[in-house]
């Protein structure tokens, strides 16, 4: 998995590509913990993410919980595979997806 960061003021966009699975989820978790403290909007750009497992969902859920306290989080451009996993787990209903 590759993570690209783009910070504009209070808004942080992380563009994820590749696979967010049990081996790569910790990397995203670390990245988030390093950068989520002084932002109000977190955007996860997922167009290039073609795989997500529950390990990745857990990290995203943690991020959502964190961001709700200080602003908001949005997910963008889910690929078909990823969207389907969001739907089957009910994540699609609790996340802001654009």
């Amino acid at each position: 998995m590759k993570i690209e960061k783009d910070r504009k003021g209070q808004e942080l966009t992380l563009t994820l590509s590749g696979r967010l699975d049990t081996t790569t989820a910790p990397t995203l978790e670390q990245e988030l913990q390093q950068s989520w403290n002084d932002i109000s909007t977190l955007i996860l750009e997922l167009k290039e993410l073609d795989y997500i497992s529950s390990a990745g969902l857990r990290v995203i859920l943690t991020a959502q919980k964190h961001m709700l306290k200080q602003g908001s989080m949005k997910l963008r451009n889910l690929s078909d595979n990823v969207r389907e996993v969001f739907e089957m787990t009910g994540f699609a209903d609790i996340m802001t997806i654009e």
């Binding site: 049990t22 795989y51 497992s53 529950s54 969902l57 996993v85 089957m88 787990t89 009910g90």
Partner: protein
């Protein structure tokens, strides 16, 4: 009626039949299925001594086929044989082909042999072709003649070796219909066949042959619906298998995914199927099973039309069903798994546990 004990057959160094044991009763219809080259034909040929067994015993109504005192010709006459290639005499008319055995071996008069032959031609629906030569018949008709010829010897059992394999597909059913009719008349038959649907509905019992033995023996319902052994299952489902040993301490998900993808591509599974397989395996292994065990044997098989993929996880130790009563951190995994594979089966016996899923894909095309 026929008892086979510890039958073995070697060709030079190669041991084709290792230890075949069977009991065939009057009125039974036994289909023999199994991969090519496992010795199905050799087994039939040993039964009527077209091949001499290397060791073992064959008893016919209590009389040993292999003992020197036995009148082999008499015993052999009790067994008709129908081959893939029809082996008719091309210079003789159909009815003459049928009369030959009864006249020469059973010493019937020509009239008796003729009457019997015409009656049998009626049974196989070929009265009208009695005076034709084999060359004028279709493949299906030739095979029906070959069956009538076997019947003309009034055998107690008929052995069929792939009776429809050489036929044009349009002619298979007429031959199978004749065999069905013979079953209704109570004839004992053993049939080596690749026609699974036929084997399933005509047989009283199925022998699945593999590894030089009758690997599994049971009623069609068992063999086709609940085979007891993995190899039988794999054969029935025409499954090609992918195997992987996953250990919690050393599992390399990249390698696993790469190998799985390789297998899937070779078997023409589509991207969606590959994705779903990888997701299912990751969730089950990492989140549901590794908390219970360190080592899991995984096997994945796909049917030849690629519509169904079956995934089996096996591990030592008897546990409860990992999908029941999940811990809070396993709920997500359970949801994913149950969504991907609504069909799931858990069993535990003899010190090990097994979790099996079927992934269905209704979009995949039959690969051509």
């Amino acid at each position: 009626m026929i008892t086979v004990r510890h039958l073995s057959k070697k060709f030079g160094e190669t041991c084709v039949l290792k230890d075949v044991n069977a009991e065939i009763n009057k009125g039974e219809v036994i289909s023999i299925i199994g991969p090519s080259g496992t010795g199905k034909s050799t087994f039939l040929r040993c039964l009527n001594l077209l091949e001499r067994p290397s060791s073992g015993e064959i008893l016919i109504n209590g009389v040993s086929l292999l003992s020197p005192e036995t009148d082999i010709h008499l015993l052999r006459r009790k067994m008709g044989m129908v081959f893939q290639s029809f082996n008719l005499f091309s210079h003789l008319m159909v009815v003459e082909n049928l009369m030959l055995g009864p006249v020469q071996l059973l010493k019937l008069s020509r009239q008796e042999a003729y009457d019997r032959s015409m009656k049998l031609l009626e049974t196989v629906g070929l009265t009208a072709r009695a005076y034709a030569f084999p060359g004028e018949l279709s493949g299906g008709q030739k095979q029906r003649v070959a069956i009538a010829r076997a019947l003309a010897m009034e055998p107690e059992i008929i052995l069929f070796d792939e009776p429809t394999s050489a036929l044009d597909p349009t002619m298979v059913s007429e031959v199978l219909a004749v065999i069905r009719k013979l079953k209704e008349q109570g004839l004992t038959m053993m049939i080596v066949t690749h026609e699974m649907d036929f084997a399933r509905d005509v047989s009283t019992r199925i022998f699945y042959m593999d590894e030089g033995i009758i690997f599994e023996d049971g009623p069609p319902e068992q063999i086709f619906e609940h085979p007891k052994r993995e190899k039988t299952r794999a054969f029935i489902h025409k499954i090609s298998l992918f195997r992987f040993t996953a250990e919690s301490k050393t599992l390399d998900i990249y390698r696993f995914n790469a190998e799985l993808e390789d297998f899937c591509i070779r078997h023409l599974l589509n991207r969606k199927q590959i994705h779903n397989l990888q997701l299912l395996c990751e969730e089950v292994l990492v989140n549901l099973l590794f908390p219970l065990t360190e080592k899991v044997e995984l096997s994945i098989g796909c049917t030849d039309d690629n519509r169904e993929t079956e995934i089996t996880f096996e591990y030592a130790g008897q546990t409860g069903n990992p999908l029941e009563n999940p811990k809070p951190d396993q709920e997500l995994s359970c949801k994913i798994v149950q969504h991907l594979a609504p069909e799931c089966n858990f069993s535990t016996e003899a010190g090990s546990s097994r979790l099996r899923f079927v992934l269905k894909d209704n979009n995949s095309k039959v690969s051509s």
